[in-house]
Symmetry: C2
Subunit: 244 residues, 2 copies
């Protein structure tokens, strides 16, 4: 998953061997990470083709409408996109290590929480990419969001949202939780105070020890470097490769 | 479903009898109509409480975060919101007349089309509510969207997207197709030309004869009157009641 990001003009790689799935991805895209997490949790073999999002190869548009990634290419030639739709598909198609709750009501509640988490995602994205400082409104949106998840974790009893091991909700919100420390760079030290979100912080520690999470986990250092390159207008998607 | 829309100050209705589901709805909300269609297609008994969206009763916020409708109250006291999440829940929980394809790949493809349809929805909404004239860009978005669905219907062979009877994709896009003729009011006569979207037009005729669709179907006249009241800043949610 740390391979080079293919740019405009790059040759299209040959189909994956042995009918493996192929994920068109990007090492720093949190939505793509969602799909890596599901594939890794379910131990589904797959091939990764990283795409340079600032200069996409033409052939990605033949694979995925609007050239969107993540996009999952199946051995039938079909290509799925939209992280949550891919995640649901994989969980329905591959029965090992079911990630969604079997109970339709619990599953629906988890999907509502994933939906609610979008408010945190949108605010984090805006702060990190454009503004660079957290306004009072943004602070409130993120705090309210985190309070909901802190309360939820307390009610469910943990250690994970799904119980004894991470499930769909845990993995779908993880990529932004992995990046949460970056917010401290933007002038808000109290937001992620350990005592305010005690359960979430414990959850985050446990998640970062999960073997599935470890496969794609990056240090905050890498996320910060990537963010800086992005804000400077030259996203360095290959910075892991280049730092070796 | 044509009952009065409850406003701020209205007393909260007692729980539905016999453990029935209750749908907090609005007669002119296309997202709420999605849930009516699923409940009606699956013949699930339910109770309707219509909400005045311009002046919501306080208690709706206790039922649904952000006071969102549609919201489905279960006999457990749990309340689900978000039309697509409710629709999926109902299809998983009630096995009669399954609306989603059983094949995970076909189901995922249908969900992608529902997602793609959002581009049409957003453009229609903007044109109808704010602008009142279709720009070239809007025209292109809607035409491209409709072309996709026209092609898809041709490939699938019909008569419905789901085959011999309407399925989830058919019902999830229907509310906006029911309202499509209104676009002609906004200066674009060629957009919905019958010869350009022949299969879609045939599909629309068949859909409007479907017993499930008929239960919530409204004439274009009603939709136009409602839209006029909305654009005038005084949405007349009770106009069906008032016209009797």
């Amino acid at each position: 998953m740390n391979g080079p990001h293919l740019s405009k003009g790059a040759r299209q790689p040959p189909p994956p061997r042995g009918g493996k799935l192929r994920l068109y991805s990007n090492r720093f895209c949190p939505y793509a990470q969602r799909v890596h997490l599901v594939l890794d949790a379910k131990k589904i073999p797959y091939d990764v083709v990283n795409i340079n999002l600032s200069s996409k190869p033409d052939w990605i548009y033949d694979k995925s409408p609007y050239g969107k990634i993540p996009a999952l290419e199946l051995d039938t030639g079909d290509v799925l996109y939209e992280s949550l739709i891919i995640a649901d598909y994989l969980d329905e198609r591959y029965h090992q290590h079911l990630l969604h709750a079997k109970d339709p009501l619990q599953k629906a509640k988890d999907k509502l929480l994933i939906e609610q988490f979008n408010r945190i995602i949108n605010t984090m994205y805006r702060v990190m990419m454009n503004i660079g400082r957290i306004s009072l409104d943004d602070d409130e949106t993120i705090s309210n969001g985190l309070n909901t998840f802190e309360r939820e974790l307390a009610e469910r009893g943990g250690p994970f949202f799904a119980g004894n091991k991470p499930g769909m909700l845990d993995y779908m919100i993880w990529p932004w939780c992995e990046r949460a420390d970056i917010l401290k760079l933007f002038g808000n030290q109290h937001l992620l105070k350990r005592d305010k979100y005690k359960k979430l912080m414990e959850w985050r520690n446990r998640m970062s020890d999960d073997p599935t999470v470890k496969r794609s986990l990056l240090d905050s250092d890498f996320h910060v470097k990537y963010l800086q390159s992005h804000r400077a207008g030259m996203p360095d998607y290959d910075l892991i490769l280049n730092s070796k």
